[in-house]
Amino acid sequence: MTELKGWLLAENPDSRTQAAFGRGYLGWLRFYHNPLAMIGFVIVLTLLLIALFAPYIAPEGISSGLTGDALKNARFLPPSAEHWFGTDGQANDVFSRIVIGSRITLVIVALVIFTAPILGFIIGTVSGYFGGWVDILLMRITDVFLAFPKLVLALALAAALGRGLESAIFAIAITSWPAYARLARAETLTIRNTDYLAAAKLQGASHWRLISGHIMPLCLSSLIVRVTLDMAGIILTAAGLGFLGLGAQPPTPEWGAMIAEGRDYILSYWWLATFPGLAIFTVALGFNLLGDGLRDVLDPKSGGQH
């Protein structure tokens, strides 16, 4: 153990791999000693585990399937040992629905963070690297998207595309890339005139090689930080669309949609809106704390200051 530690923390690493591992380990140490970041990490990890094992955790599935008198007696039950979070108007177990709904939340987040940031990243670096009319063209397109409040634009898109989870995801992705493009462009501008880029250019490196090999890696860490900080926002936007009826459709247990359903009964049956609300709150908080922690670790501007 100490040997490994010594290898990781070596002042003069023997290889690039060792150096990379060393940096990673230092980052982990810094992260590990930040209690808030660890709380966020645990929340997100728990969410991942819950989503992974959802069918085993959720005792009753998303639908009770009850009819007639059985339905009459099992609906709107308050939280109890049997139904931790109570039951709704169709006698469905709210706890089970929230557990299964965690998968939907994760799918939304995953799909958005694997599309929007990448698109924005490419547009931003290309724009910053080439400058001139490429820059003007791409940035004006970005401006068009930035001219609308994000949620309003997402609402309009989701409404135009028709209701459904897919269009909600697409709407969120389409509205979140401009911020990444701006970020990547700003980073690119600070390094496009550096000597090492000029040197690489003199050696005959192509544009694509310069962008992908030299610029992108340098911009990556700030992008990752930004993405983790945005995850909470993505979850909230998705929940907002679900709340307004533009996201997942019944009986899909999307959290935002569950709150919308519970809203009609908020004065009579508080648990219907409260628990999905708490779930969204907890997960959004978790991603935020995790993002803050990751920024401390990954932000190149604060790099090395231990």
Binding site: S63, S64, G65, L66, T67, G68, D69, L71, K72, R75, F76, G89, Q90, L155, A156, A159, R163, L244, G245, Q249, P250, P251, R263, D264, Y265, I266, L267, S268, Y269
Partner: protein, 534 residues
């Protein structure tokens, strides 16, 4: 975009809920001489009786205009004269002669004459807006209406039809909102480009009813004031304020606090929670509105009679009546609502999964199929649709539920592009023909048909039934007529692609000190005239 605004309003509603909560215990009783009503009336688009075809608009017009004739809200079969004092029907059944009541004054001060009544009906026929068919179905049109409907002297109005219809059919049509009497002089003063005052009357008032319309701000407020000259008793309430409150939980809260006297849109679960409140009573009235599931026969699977039968056995009628519809509806499985002449009250269908499975197997779908169900996004409709989704799943029918904005649903439905539709039908007047006409009659099932009744929307074209419906329309003997409708409904219940589920009961939460608020069988018969405060 409309739906976005609607949603934004919901958000605004949530905010006002928060505000209402934060004001805590401060409660303000409403003034003694005023009635404050919390109500969702964002459907009002016009206050012109020739054009209004919306629930809320008809209610406002019903309280502010006199119609030619009216009926007792507790017994629809009792028809009496309102603006008309009496009437006679000619031997051949085609000519109706009305004597106009003397001494009715419009808000402008003008005296009502037969000329005003004739003008109102002519105007409605000539403009021919959404409810226009109620009058034009008697063979009236732009060119002949001035001959067929006319004032022969100051007190006498003559109304001629093209055929001898059942007399009650004609009379019930003249109890509809469209037969409200407007002030000819006042309306024509504001006519622009031959629109007969349409643009003006949409937002103004030219009537003689128990109340006058003082102000209407769409989706915000309607202010009514008592007509001090009303011929049939001046209302006790000097003012009636109808406040648009979109969120039903806000209505509940304001009602409990005494900020409003009547809450009109409480949901099932809220009714339960105000039931025990001594300061609040619930007024209930069976409406003519029916909720039904329809199957589009353009779809090859849904066109199969056995599949249609199976679906009728897959609805949890009793469960719905006890849960989602508890206190707000009663099971009705035929196309005429209870209370109508000849309404069939048999309930042959109940949830029977085994039987449905058998029928589906015979039809060739032992494992079910996938199908889409469109429904308007309102709690009671969506909750019912969810129950249908659950019970259909028991035989493997996978329902994709698509809640949409009211307008969107109607657009899809009217173009018959749906598979399954769950929604409502409200009678346009109190005669059985109004529903038979739309559910049991389809003269042209082609895509570009001129008339598109609900039967057409589901590609249902029963030849014999169409003939029977037209025959019942001209039967002048009420008992025979009732028997004809019973027979049509029996056949329709079994063979038509419609599963009727519930008949709506309207419930209003009313403060205990309010008496005399009347809910009628249709929205234009809901009345504030006799309201008193203790």
């Amino acid at each position: 975009m409309k739906s976005l605004f609607k949603k934004a309003r919901h958000l605004a509603g949530a905010t006002s809920l928060a505000l209402a909560l934060s004001t805590g215990t401060v409660s303000a009783a409403t003034p003694k001489d005023s009635l404050v009503v919390g109500w969702q009336f964002d459907d009002i688009i016009t206050l012109d009786s020739a054009e209004a075809f919306e629930f809320s608009g008809s209610e406002v017009i019903g309280n502010t205009y006199d119609r030619l004739i009216s009926y007792d809200p507790n017994d629809v079969s009792k028809i009496f004269g309102q603006a008309a004092e009496s009437w006679t029907i000619s031997e051949d059944g085609k000519t109706f002669t009305f004597k106009i009541r003397k001494g009715i004054k419009f808000a402008s001060g003008n005296e009502m004459t037969a000329e005003d009544a004739a003008f109102s009906l002519q105007r409605a026929v000539i403009l021919n807006k959404a409810p226009g068919f109620i009058l034009t179905q008697f063979g009236l049109n732009e060119t002949n209406v001035k001959d067929k409907v006319k004032a022969i002297d100051a007190d006498t109005l003559v109304f001629e039809t093209d055929k001898a219809y059942a007399p009650t059919f004609v009379l019930y049509c003249l109890t509809a909102t469209i037969a409200s009497v407007v002030d000819k002089e006042e309306v024509m003063k504001h006519a622009v480009d031959g629109d007969m005052g349409l643009a003006w009357l949409r937002t103004h008032y030219a009537g003689s009813g128990p109340f006058k319309v003082e102000q209407w701000k769409p989706s915000e407020i309607v202010v009514l004031s008592a007509n001090q000259n009303y011929w049939n008793g001046v209302p006790a309430m000097k003012n009636v304020f109808l406040r648009h409150i979109g969120e039903s939980s806000v209505q509940q809260l304001l009602l409990e606090k005494g900020d409003i006297d009547i809450a009109r849109n409480l949901e099932t679960e809220q009714l339960k929670s105000v039931e025990d409140n001594k300061e609040i009573k619930l007024i209930k009235k069976g409406k003519g509105t029916l909720y039904y599931l329809s199957m589009n026969m353009k779809d090859p699977i849904l066109a199969k009679p056995k599949v249609q039968q199976a679906l009728k056995y897959l609805i949890d009628y009793k469960g719905l009546a006890d849960t989602v519809w508890d206190g707000r509806g009663q099971i009705q499985q035929a196309f005429l609502p209870k209370g109508f002449l000849g309404a069939l009250e048999d309930q042959p269908f109940s949830l029977d999964v085994e039987k449905a499975k058998e029928l589906l197997t015979e039809a060739g779908y032992p494992d079910g199929f996938d199908v889409e169900l469109i429904v308007r996004n309102s709690p009671i409709r969506v909750d019912t649709a969810k129950s249908i989704q659950t019970t259909f799943a028991k035989v493997g029918i996978k329902v994709k539920l698509i809640p949409m904005d009211g307008k969107q649903v109607l657009t899809v439905y009217r173009a018959r592009k749906h598979q399954l539709f769950f929604g409502t039908w409200g009678p346009d007047y109190q005669d059985p023909h109004t529903n038979a006409d739309t559910f049991a009659k389809n003269l042209d099932n082609s895509d570009d048909a001129k008339s598109k009744p609900v039967a057409w929307r589901n590609a249902y074209a029963p030849e014999q039934m169409t003939k029977d419906t037209l025959a019942a329309l001209v039967e002048r003997d009420a008992d025979k007529r009732a028997a004809m409708y019973l027979a049509i409904q029996k056949e329709h219940q079994q063979t038509a692609p419609f599963a009727f589920v519930m008949q709506e009961q309207e419930v209003a939460g009313v403060r205990a000190n309010i008496d005399g608020f009347v809910l009628g069988p249709s929205f234009d018969s809901n009345s504030y005239k006799d309201v008193v405060k203790k």
